[in-house]
């Protein structure tokens, strides 16, 4: 082996020695022939013949003395580079086509990898689980509850730790200006479960988390940098959080993220075990499994503990323990990653499939280009084969060339993908989770490399197989002057074009269906009107500043009055939760209806509760179907009233009119409340879901949910105006709020239209991506058809010339090309329609209001494709038919 490696270096000398040796051989042969009486010329000729091809011997000899793979590889590489440089146009076209195909795939794979494949950024992330619950009879998922948390903490056999958390906005005052921050409340176990230590200071201790513990707070790295300039002496200082003094005890490390939430500060939960009652399913929970414990073990463990929990804690006032024991919650444990990622997997895989198809189309196009290019080199290849280059060697060279092209395309593609990812991270389309994890990491780079090499082989193998073994005599004899193309030669290109057309059709159908989905969603009646005119801001009135519930509501009323007086404002209102808030679904709860009879164990339907000020419906443009809106005296006089949505009224009382005057309540020990109005439905869960049944209660009530007086200090204010989102308007809004109380921060400033767009974000992202893939597919397909027709036409210039000379009319020539092009297109369309009908099954979860076999989409897409294909065929056909016969015959 060493000898062989050395001989790589000594090749030149070895070649020279061999030449000497062979010369000697030939001389001796010559001498013998002369001795037999031949003339010296004849002898030399005879000797050469005896010897066989010198080149062939040299080649065989070299193969023996070198490492054939390494050496021919290097030789092919240099050769490939040289021949690519010779045709810069084709090379650039191929590299650009591939760059788009590979770049798109690299980018989407970076998304798939970052969102779905990468583990969560915590140590041993696979043993982290989200502990949720279900209730028999409803499909809805309940989070955990304090009584369950304490029981799990004390009785579990399968958790290394279990904790509760929740995120709420809180106001920070006392710094230069008031500010609303996202506060993560955790029990003391949560951070140790995640395995994350503060970068500075210490974690929460058990004492910090106990109800009489000191008030402590941890800062996120971002908030520490933003508000304290990264000053390490911040530890030991105090913050005023919702009017309460809190000691800063630490700063979290820079990369720390809590699941997928942006948080500013972390505070301990400080639950009082003695105050805990049954119920209150409002806090998410997570746990770390002990080593070796499976999800099924843990689920069984939780099932065992639920009855213990019901025995251990008292029922809330007005309830009996029996009610909880009859319908215990069931465990629903899921890997934490699944909770973070959500249901985006389906869409990402569909997009990945679509872009994979696009790459295949690009490869087919490139293969076609290379076929044409290799055809042009047939003479060269034939001569080299005649001189002794082996079939393997020629095929090897062609493959190396295509691999080089693939790699060049891949490198350009990475540049493209990087730009796409910048955009994705900046825009955060489709409510993508884990944006920070979406990077061009080594896994993505490896994927791109493999993809580039695979693409190179895929499109390189066609010309390599076809031309590695040229029919020498035929090619050489014809001297480059070919008459009409043979059918066989044509077949490979035709098949490629057919495949391209078919795949382009699949992509177009997919984007067409997405477009129809988007149309259907846009046409859906959201319930509110002109969302772009509704400005939303979130304002929280701290308990520390204004302890009494009614005073908080009066302050909100005062703010509303000021807001309505802002120039350009038409009306204003507030609600506890903004419309289309993604968190709305979790708060649905049971509504008791007077006279409503439910069999024991039968699930009561869940209703959405909203707590609103008067003017809410007017501001949003929700029609009042019958009855009346709430009034301020409903709030201040604590009238027992409510308003329901039309679908709820129909469900429980068959008609809107039938609902008015009926009575409902939120819990058995609340007083009955009379329905005074029925309003139009609102698609609060997003346009693709049915409007939820909603009960609207006044934002100030007595004896609700067993509370003496209930108000909503943290509320979203809605202002309808033509001036939304302008700087002047926002300045006016701030001034209006601060005229009432200068300590109130305005948070989550956006228009209802932004929330509306966000609810369509996933569909529009899928639409944009599929439309781009479809458009590119169509373009590449058209180029493919154009290229083949143009090439065939150029090959047949002589034939066309003869026919024109013999009296054929231009129209006939054109028609012939058109017919051939259309045959290809028709075949491709047929295959594509069948494939689309099968493949769109995979994307049915993305569709809304349109059947995946929607005839209109399929027909329109087919028409577009056929039109483009006809144009792509017609142009070269038209050119061919205008050939000058004389010219054609002379040069053809």
């Amino acid at each position: 082996m060493l000898g062989r490696l050395l001989s790589l270096v000594r090749r030149r000398r070895l070649d020279a020695e061999l030449a000497d040796e062979l010369d000697f051989h030939v001389e001796r042969l010559e001498a013998e022939h002369r001795a037999r009486g031949l003339s010296s010329d004849e002898a030399r000729r005879a000797a050469r013949l005896d010897m066989g091809g010198i080149t062939r011997v040299t080649e065989a000899y070299r193969d023996q003395h070198g490492i054939p793979f390494l050496e021919t590889g290097w030789r092919n590489l240099r050769f490939g580079m040289r021949s690519l440089r010779r045709t810069p146009g084709v090379t650039a076209a191929v590299a650009a086509t591939l760059a788009v195909g590979i770049g798109a795939n690299a980018a989407i794979f970076a998304l798939v990898n970052g969102v779905l494949l990468k583990p969560l950024p915590y140590p041993d992330p696979d043993s982290l689980v989200a502990v949720n619950h279900g209730m028999t009879g409803t499909a809805d998922q309940l989070p955990s509850a304090p009584y369950l948390y304490f029981t799990y903490r004390e009785e579990n056999r399968t958790f290394a730790g279990v904790g509760l958390w929740t995120i709420r906005p809180a106001n920070i005052t006392g710094l230069d200006r008031p500010e609303q921050v996202q506060t993560l409340y955790v029990t003391s176990e949560i951070l140790p479960i995640l395995g994350i230590q503060p970068m500075l200071g210490r974690q929460f201790s058990q004492e910090d988390d106990s109800p009489d513990g000191a008030s402590t707070v941890l800062l996120s790295y971002g908030y520490w940098q933003r508000r304290f300039g990264g000053d390490p002496s911040v530890i030991g200082r105090t913050l005023v959080l919702d009017g309460q003094l809190q000691d800063v005890i630490g700063v979290m490390p820079r990369g720390f993220r809590f699941l997928d939430n942006r948080i500013d500060v972390i505070a301990p939960f400080q639950l009082d075990r003695n105050q805990v009652t049954l119920g209150r399913y409002v806090f998410p929970s997570l746990a770390r499994l002990k080593p070796g414990v499976t999800l099924a073990d843990a689920t069984a463990d939780v099932s065992r503990m639920v009855p213990l929990a019901i025995d251990r804690f008292p029922p809330p006032p007005g309830y009996t323990r029996d009610r909880f024991a009859r319908r215990p919650v069931t465990p629903r444990l899921t890997p934490l990653k699944q909770t973070v990622v959500g249901n985006i997997a389906g869409m990402l895989w569909v997009l990945m499939g679509a872009l994979g198809l696009l790459l295949l189309i690009a490869c087919a196009n490139v293969a076609n280009l290379l076929l044409v290019r290799t055809e042009g080199r047939q003479q060269e290849l034939a001569i080299r084969a005649a001189l002794g280059a082996s079939r393997r060697r020629i095929a090897g060279e062609l493959l190396v060339e295509s691999t080089l092209l693939g790699l060049a395309g891949g490198a350009l593609g990475l540049v493209l993908a990087q730009q796409v990812l910048y955009a994705v991270r900046a825009l955060g389309p489709a409510n993508l989770p884990r944006l920070e994890d979406i990077t061009l990491d080594p896994v993505v780079l490896l994927f791109t490399l493999v993809l580039s090499l695979a693409a190179g082989v895929v499109f390189g193998v066609v010309p390599a197989l076809r031309y590695a073994n040229p029919q020498l005599s035929a090619t050489l004899r014809s001297g480059g002057r070919t008459m009409s193309d043979s059918r066989q030669r044509h077949r490979a290109r035709a098949a490629l074009v057919m495949v391209q057309v078919a795949m382009a059709l699949v992509l177009l159908v997919a984007s067409g269906l997405m477009l129809r989905t988007f149309q259907a969603l846009s046409r859906v009646d959201a319930g509110f009107v002109r969302p772009e005119e509704v400005q939303m801001v979130r304002i929280a009135i701290p308990f520390g500043d204004v302890p009494e519930p009614e005073r908080a509501t009066r302050m909100q009323h005062a703010i509303l009055t000021r807001l309505e007086a802002v120039p350009g404002a038409v009306s204003a209102a507030f609600a506890d939760i903004a419309p289309l808030d993604p968190g709305n679904g979790g708060s649905d709860t049971v509504l008791f209806v007077e006279g409503g009879a439910y069999a024991p164990g039968q699930a009561r339907p869940l209703r959405r509760f909203e707590f609103i000020s008067p003017g809410f419906f007017h501001t949003l443009g929700i029609p009042i179907v019958t009855g009346r809106d709430l009034t301020w005296s409903d709030l201040y006089d604590r009238r027992l009233v409510a308003v329901v949505s039309e679908n709820l009224a129909r469900e429980d009382w068959q008609s809107p009119a039938g609902a008015v005057g009926k009575r409902v309540r939120a819990s058995p020990d609340d007083p009955w409340r009379e329905i005074v109005g029925v309003v139009g439905n609102m698609r609060d869960n997003g346009m693709h879901l049915d409007p939820p049944p909603i009960v609207y209660f006044p934002a100030l009530m007595d004896r609700f949910w067993s509370a003496p007086t209930l108000s909503f200090r943290s509320a979203t204010f809605l202002i309808r105006s033509r001036r939304t989102a302008t700087e002047g308007f926002l300045r006016d809004l701030h001034a209006a709020v601060w005229a009432v109380n200068g300590n109130l921060p305005l948070a989550e400033i956006r228009t209802l239209n932004e929330a509306y767009r966000r609810s369509l974000a996933r569909t529009s992202f899928a639409l944009v991506m599929l439309a781009m893939a479809g458009g590119m597919g169509l373009l590449l397909g058209a180029i493919g058809i154009y290229g083949v027709t143009a090439y065939v036409a150029s090959q047949r210039t002589a034939e066309i010339g003869i026919r024109l000379a013999l009296g054929a009319r231009a129209g006939q020539v054109r028609r012939q090309f058109l017919r051939e092009g259309m045959m290809l297109t028709a075949a491709g369309v047929m295959i594509g329609l069948v494939a689309a009908a099968a493949l769109t099954r995979l994307m049915s979860s993305l569709l809304f209001g349109v059947n995946r076999l929607d005839p209109l989409t399929y027909i329109l897409v087919t028409l577009v494709l056929v039109a483009v294909a006809t144009l792509a065929t017609y142009l070269p056909a038209w050119r061919a038919s205008r050939n000058d016969p004389i010219e054609a015959l002379r040069c053809g």
Binding site: G3, L22, F24, R28, G53, R56, V57, Y61, Q64
Partner: protein, 113 residues
């Protein structure tokens, strides 16, 4: 007999020829092999020279440049001690193969079984 050289037999022929003739150049070897085979084996030079190189790489023969009988520089090949041992070994293997094939070709039971 086919003029194709049976795979692996050329090596043994070359070695055996070198053993019988002593140091020899490529042309001489080719001629000798042609003679011995009584014209049945027309050795292709594209096979011989790579074979010589192969045998050198295995260390069974070595080469040196010398002046030939007609006063011209030529490359002479000769056996190494390892090459001598290799002949014994390969000859034995070959004899076994021949006798084995022989048995199959002669014994009617083998062909019917």
């Amino acid at each position: 007999m086919s003029k194709q050289v049976l795979q692996g037999t050329l090596d043994l022929m070359v070695l055996r020829t070198l053993e019988a003739m002593g140091p020899q150049h490529g042309f001489g070897l080719a001629k000798r092999i042609l003679q011995v085979s009584e014209g049945m084996l027309d050795l292709n030079q594209g096979t011989l020279y790579p074979a010589l190189l192969r045998l050198q790489q295995r260390g069974w023969i070595k080469s040196r440049w010398a002046v030939s009988d007609n006063n011209r520089k030529a490359k002479y090949y000769e056996l190494t001690p390892r090459g001598r041992r290799q002949i014994a070994c390969e000859a034995a293997t070959w004899a076994r193969t021949v006798s084995l094939m022989d048995r199959f070709l002669r014994n009617p039971a083998a062909s019917e079984g």
